[in-house]
């Protein structure tokens, strides 16, 4: 059985609205990654896709619709619902089992066709109680932000700095949906749509077909001269009812601890060179940095002030612009893995972090105020 799993190739398309339909867009990204790896469809062994069910696409059992577009005709495959990092993990399992030498992991989301993210995430709420109140991810995030600011004395300006940093980083990312040079005042002066969150602190609704080719150690070395290796994964979930939870005690801590243990990481701030994390709401980047052990509890504000998470800092966070710049809901987790891979391979173009890098972290989250988190560690 193989001991190592490598990423042999990656591909993604832009977050802005494409002229292609879902079906064709999915086909094109699959073709692109197979071409990049020099692999024929016939040689591809298994396919794990990620797509959200009907509420994020209008079609039930989504993989029935796009099955053949992912090269899966008469091949064994499966699908993960909602979080594409789940699909990444499942692909890794399939390779480690020894049954397959290549696995295509592909995440599909065409945000431009979908209802607003909040209309979709409202459907996560139980129909009797939380949904009647209108609970959705944005509402949960607004409450979480309020508690965070009050418990640790975090200023709205510190949260806004995340937007300024990430949208500026996105200027170097041809796939980003939203980008630009803005000020803290711009961010705080944007529509205060769900106080304390303003419009610019909330991720947009983007397109994103994201693909990644996994291979066993030997096969990966054949397919690429620059393999990036899987080193660790962890995920965790919290209680369901938002009132049952401490919104500042997130399951990310458990997820990160699992991933670090698998990867043999004991000092994350020192050992991780770059992190791509999922921050659909600006302040969450600060909390997640704390939970990932990049700083202490309540120190997220100080951390952004210090510049440590800038592209030039000691631990750049979201050099791609993150999810605030590009939010293909289901695909965003896998997109973090793709961005981290590009950084480690030195192929990130204008958004490349200029330092020698060995270890990268990719993070995904979904659910109310981060009910579920997933962390992947990659290395060269």
């Amino acid at each position: 059985m193989p001991k190592k799993v490598g990423i042999a190739a990656v591909a993604q398309n832009a977050g802005v609205e494409s002229k292609d339909n879902f079906y064709d867009q999915s086909y094109k990204i699959t073709k692109e990654i197979l071409d990049k790896a020099g692999l024929k469809r016939e040689e591809l062994e298994t396919i794990i896709s990620a797509a959200s069910d009907i509420f994020h696409g209008g079609i039930s059992c989504a993989n029935s619709y796009y099955w053949e577009t992912t090269g899966a005709f008469l091949k064994p495959g499966s699908r993960q619902d909602g979080e594409s990092l789940f699909a990444f993990f499942y692909g890794v399992m399939r390779i480690l089992s020894g049954d397959y030498d290549t696995a295509l992991v592909i995440a599909l989301c065409k945000g431009s066709e979908n209802p607003e993210n909040d209309a979709c995430t409202l459907m996560y709420a139980d129909p009797f109680y939380q949904r009647m109140i209108g609970m959705n991810e944005t509402m949960a995030a607004a409450m979480q932000m309020r508690i965070y600011m009050e418990r640790y004395g975090i200023a709205e300006e510190q949260c806004a700095k995340v937007v300024v940093k990430n949208l500026a980083n996105a200027l170097g990312n041809p796939y980003a949906h939203r980008k630009g040079r803005f000020t803290v005042d711009d961010v705080l002066g944007s529509d205060r749509i769900i106080d304390p969150l303003t419009q610019m602190q909330i991720a947009p609704k983007s397109e994103g077909m994201v693909a990644l080719l996994l291979a066993s150690e030997e096969k990966a070395k054949k397919l690429t001269s620059k393999p990036v290796w899987f080193r660790g994964f962890g995920n965790s979930i919290d209680h369901y009812y938002i009132g049952d939870r401490d919104l500042l005690d997130s399951p990310l801590k458990t997820a990160a601890a699992r991933a670090y243990k698998m990867a043999g990481i004991s000092r994350p701030r020192k050992e991780i060179d770059i992190a791509e994390i999922t921050e659909p709401y600006a302040f969450q980047e600060l909390i997640w940095c704390e939970d990932l052990g990049f700083c202490g509890p309540g120190e997220g504000g100080k951390m952004i002030d210090s510049g440590a998470t800038q592209k030039t800092g000691d631990i750049p966070v979201n050099p791609s612009g993150g999810v605030l710049a590009n939010n293909p809901y289901v695909s965003r987790g896998l997109q973090r893995v793709v961005e981290a891979t590009l950084q480690l391979r030195g192929e990130a173009g204008e958004r490349q972090v200029d330092k020698k890098m060995k270890t990268a972290l990719a993070h995904g989250t979904h659910g109310f105020a981060g009910q579920c988190h997933a962390v992947a560690i990659l290395g060269v």
Partner: protein, 389 residues
């Protein structure tokens, strides 16, 4: 195949119209039972994979959130697998690869559905793309009836004969359901009643079709190390897995000889070293929401030659006393909480080889096949389990 994997615990709800409980409570019923059966506590489990058919069925999206507490999943690694009708089998596959990869030693798979809360056929219709097919597939019976019709013409099967064979299957399965404490529809029928029942989608009539069931199934998968450590005597070892899928366009592939079924079973047989399934398998839990389709599966799985299934059925080859008993649990025809159904097939196959199937036990069963299918006649998945490592 990777590290050996065994099924060591099974929990099912009483399937049926379960308007007596809310969705999370239904799921918890199966989860409590699987822990009782395995003699484990939620704290022992490292990971959980859950799944349903589409969100529209109950109107809640990404149910791993809503059901997090019912599955006692706080702080655990969670995955959410969904592949339409084959979801239950894909859940078993996810749990299998998780353990066989060496990443975890104990994983629970939970399949669940509460079909009576939504409109199941309207939901199935939304599996079809809204551009071409959605308006024509008339839920699940539509495509499957077309497929059966295609098959009967291909092999020149007389309508009277396949009608008789289908009625035979329906009658024996509905009888078997009386011996399964968890089955939904338990009914003594006559062949005449079945053959003259109301037409649903021609040639499929009322008793040729599975019901809408509410139900959940939980199964615990363990590594060899864990089976030893826990001192487990009765385990069902995974001997082979297979899956294959076809295009979403119903008209693109030949459905009379169903390639995805043929390839999925070939992959599983090759892993399990099975050359003559009719001889080597002791029991099969074939996913049979429609009687006609069940016969096509017998052919695709090599239980008989193409076009021969109706004759074999009428000879009694697949009854509980036959050469290869199929669906002694009553099968999907009597119980169909979709997201759970494929996992129930694997659970029933495991119960058989563990000798724990109670009144529907096939004596001495050692090797069993389980199967599920899904999509717009697209997906087939197989898991073969055996009593020995």
């Amino acid at each position: 195949m990777g590290n050996p994997v065994a099924i060591i615990g099974i929990g099912q709800t009483e399937h049926g119209k379960r308007m007596d409980v809310a969705y999370p409570e239904l799921v918890r019923e199966a989860v409590v039972r699987v822990y009782e059966d395995a003699g484990l506590e939620p704290d022992d489990i490292e990971g959980i994979v859950s799944g349903t058919m589409p969100s529209m069925m109950e109107g809640v999206a990404l149910t791993h959130f809503y059901l997090a507490d019912a599955m006692a999943s706080k702080g655990k690694t969670i995955l959410k697998t969904e592949t339409c009708g084959s979801t239950g089998m894909s859940l078993a596959h996810t749990a299998y690869y998780w353990v066989s990869s060496g990443i975890a030693d104990l994983v629970m798979a939970v399949g669940h559905e509460k079909m009576n809360e939504g409109d199941s056929q309207a939901t199935m219709t939304t599996v079809g793309d809204p551009f071409y097919q959605r308006y024509f597939i008339s839920g699940a019976p539509g495509v499957f009836s077309m497929q059966s019709q295609m098959w009967s013409v291909r092999y020149g099967l007389a309508e009277e004969k396949i009608r008789d064979a289908a009625a035979f299957i329906s009658l024996t399965h509905h009888d078997s359901a009386f011996d399964n404490p968890y089955a939904h529809i338990k009914k003594r029928l006559t062949a005449e009643e079945i053959k003259t029942a109301r037409i649903i989608t021609y040639p499929v009539r009322l008793w040729d079709v599975c019901p809408n069931s509410d139900g959940a199934c939980a199964v615990i998968f363990a590594s060899q190390k864990m089976v030893k450590k826990l001192g487990i005597k009765k385990a069902a070892w995974v001997k082979g897995v297979g899956f294959s899928g076809e295009e979403q366009f119903f008209g693109d592939s030949d459905k009379a000889v169903w390639q995805s079924a043929v390839l999925a079973v070939r992959q599983a047989y090759s892993q399990a070293g099975i050359k003559n399934p009719l001889k080597e398998l002791d029991v099969a839990e074939v996913y049979n929401p429609f009687t006609f389709q069940e016969m096509m599966f017998y052919e695709c799985f090599g239980f008989c030659e193409l076009g021969e299934a109706p004759d074999m059925v009428l000879r009694g080859s697949f009854t509980r006393n036959g050469d290869l008993p199929c669906d002694p649990s009553g099968g999907t025809l009597c119980t169909n909480p979709i997201g759970a159904t494929g996992l129930i097939r694997t659970a029933e196959a495991a119960l058989q080889v563990m000798g724990k199937a109670g009144d529907h036990q096939i004596p001495g069963a050692k090797l069993a096949l389980s199967h599920a299918m899904g999509g717009i006649d697209q997906f087939n998945g197989i898991m073969i389990v055996g009593s020995e490592l």
